[in-house]
Symmetry: C2
Subunit: 434 residues, 2 copies
């Protein structure tokens, strides 16, 4: 089935560079983009959609999140990461059943789809629920079962989470025509033991897996690692073999220059999560230095509990202005760089080189923004519009793999009212209230 979008602005990529086309056309054949240009193609298409006043951008890639944490949205406001995590989040998470997690994850799918996200990298327990929800939703997702170990005496071979992680990989990697990839994960240095990391890393290496970790999110955590092991968390992970296959690290707020060089040398991507890092008082990640060191930097929302939403347009905006405020240099990060962070850099980190850009031959993962609204007029500088004027509420269509998931407020793959009912039930169960 071939579909042609006409009369739309398009943020395309040509020869690796962003190119803005005004009132052009974009054609989709099956799951792949087969035409982009200022004029309508001569070829016949099956369906023509007039997209006047719409801007097509590459679908946003949320490179670090915990989708089910929508169930904890707003919980523990005004606490530091350690208190928030150990005193508030973990006790609630202990109560969550697989059914709750399914509900929270499906709610997250609705939110991501409605805000233009087409692919996400998730780290959470009961990951099979996230896989099933993503399959149903039609989203792309890299999903992992994070490994933790709080008992130094535990034999790595006995770690339940490692077993779950491997079983998840065996069962689901490549599901949904490749829309699902199963990653591997050590949750963080401060929630695992060296023996477990070393053992698990060897298994990941055998599978040429993609490792998803939390890294140097807070100063306290970073310094405690140096105190405990005499090395930074990045070095600790590297020494234990966690970076021997592909890897990406969320936050990286407190990484050192040596860490950045290490990450660059070993091909470890970083995920910048500005909202979460600000909200929890973690700090500002050195995005300019990371990029200059050659590290691939993507963007993520983190979980809704520390954000408090899954709004990638907001992260794109924050990444575009925060570092100017912090460094005093309004040119420190270019809009084209943050747009790439929110799209193709995330795709790269996910191992999805066929997504993240609007280019003929790439997968049709697309978000359409309504640019006829007061705050998007006039459109004198399209990249400024996308990074600093537009908002998630402007998203009017989301397509993944050539399939429309969302169209003018309607969800086409998920039963939103049923999901809201399921969430209400889960919230009542977990919190004893609505």
């Amino acid at each position: 089935m071939r579909r042609l979008f006409t009369n739309c602005d398009i943020l395309a990529t040509e020869n690796g560079r962003l190119k803005y086309i005004r009132r052009g056309s974009l054609g989709v054949n099956g799951s792949v983009i087969d035409y982009i240009g200022p004029d309508e193609p001569i070829d016949r298409y099956d369906i023509y959609w007039d997209m006047s006043d719409r801007l097509l951008i590459p679908g946003l890639v949320n490179a670090h999140t915990h989708t089910a944490m929508t169930l904890l949205r707003g919980i523990g406001s005004g606490l530091s990461l350690q208190e928030w995590l150990f005193d508030t989040v973990f006790p609630i998470e202990d109560k969550l059943t697989a059914e709750d997690i399914r509900a929270g994850t499906e709610l997250a799918m609705l939110e991501m789809i409605a805000s233009g996200t087409t692919s996400f990298s998730d780290m959470y327990m009961e990951p099979q629920e996230t896989v099933e929800a993503a399959l149903k939703a039609g989203l792309r997702a890299n999903i992992c079962r994070p490994v933790q170990c709080f008992d130094p005496a535990e034999r790595p071979q006995d770690n339940r989470r490692i077993k779950e992680s491997l079983a998840l990989f065996d069962k689901y990697d490549g599901a949904g025509d490749g829309r699902i990839k199963i990653d591997f994960s050590v949750h963080a240095e401060y929630t695992c033991t060296p023996d477990v990391v070393r053992y698990y890393a060897s298994l990941v290496r055998e599978r040429r897996g993609n490792m998803h970790i939390h890294l140097s999110e807070t100063k306290k955590e970073h310094d405690a690692c140096v105190e405990r092991y005499g090395v930074t968390p990045a070095r600790w992970f590297a020494d234990l073999g966690a970076f021997d296959s592909r890897a990406f690290a969320a936050h990286c707020v407190w990484v050192t220059e040596d860490d950045m060089k290490l990450m660059s040398d070993m091909g470890v991507s970083a995920v910048h999560c500005p909202s979460s890092n600000m909200k929890l008082g973690s700090g500002f990640a050195p995005v300019r230095a990371l990029t200059d060191a050659g590290v691939n930097v993507a963007l993520g929302t983190d979980g809704a509990s520390s954000n408090n939403n899954l709004n990638m347009m907001e992260e794109l905006h924050l990444a575009s202005i925060l570092h100017s405020g912090h460094t005093g240099d309004p040119t420190v990060i270019k809009p084209a760089e943050t747009v790439r962070m929110a799209t193709v850099n995330g795709a790269r980190l996910q191992g999805r080189d066929d997504t993240g850009e609007l280019t003929v031959g790439k997968k049709a993962d697309i978000a359409a923004l309504d640019i006829s609204r007061p705050h998007t007029i006039p459109n004198l500088d399209p990249l400024a519009l996308i990074t600093c004027s537009a908002q998630a509420g402007d998203v009017v269509m989301t397509m993944v793999d050539g399939k429309v998931l969302y169209d003018n407020g309607r969800f086409l793959t998920l039963n939103a009212p049923q999901i809201y009912r399921d969430v209400r039930r889960a919230v009542e169960r977990v919190y004893g209230r609505k």
Copy 2:
């Protein structure tokens, strides 16, 4: 005419404290709130609106903006304040006619109304256009003609802008049943001479006027004043009498401790503009210290050219998380404080003690948010929801003075398509392109 909103959540103020009511009612009699409570009142109303899944919040007060600069949206991205202002903005502004300014201002009215702003403090040339647009829109506005003087030899009595400022006050102050207030303004220390400020301040004092200025926005500007005059900009303004009547100062990024004490002592409010300050690389205003010093701190977007929109929900969000990221303390600013900054503190700065809060007897300036969307579910912590989850696109109704200006995407006081045409014409004229 009496109108009752039923079944809505309400962010009310009771005895000076925010109070969240779930599924309550709010009644409006003429321009004034006459009922707030968890139950429906016994009184008969003329109109009943079921507001299920809606949250009523006090209308947002944008305490510092330049509305007509919507025409410069996206212009000069990635420049520092001084280059942006002198090399880009001023040359474009020189071309603007009153007609252009009217178009840009009306576009701003649409944007503000659609994003829940009910009152704004504007500083721009051709201010009569802004007054007329605000009157037509039905918004509240404090409007001024900023005074500048680049010629040290100019006699203050001859300053054209001072004359325009006074004439504006005489003609419009109190117009639209008091919805329009005319403020006074010295644009900034670096765009005026001491003689002009001293003379003008004496005229403002006679009128017991409200003075709107830019203050210590950039380090360069702040330091240059100290170099030039041996005093900080705040002290310079105070010494020249600019703070002898009521005053408020936009930005205040680089104010010193002494400046804060001075502002507190003289009742000078500060307007925090986080997006603009970040985007232009100006820095982060010391909001905690300002508040602790006793300064009334409100929020503003600044002009759309340095933001790049007039989205107060975004400023509310940024003010709520930025300072945690900057200080490392996630408790440094409480959500209740930023909600007050975005509402009642702005109202106070505008000299509008009868607005800014949902309380019986206050003016019915209200924004309604749709809280049935995926990113606003569940609502476990209403202030966290308002500050960190909701977005401007969730605004579904805006009311000022008891009059509905916006309802589910429809503008009820302005002709949006005509405004878009006027803007297109102005943009073509100014930039030679669409």
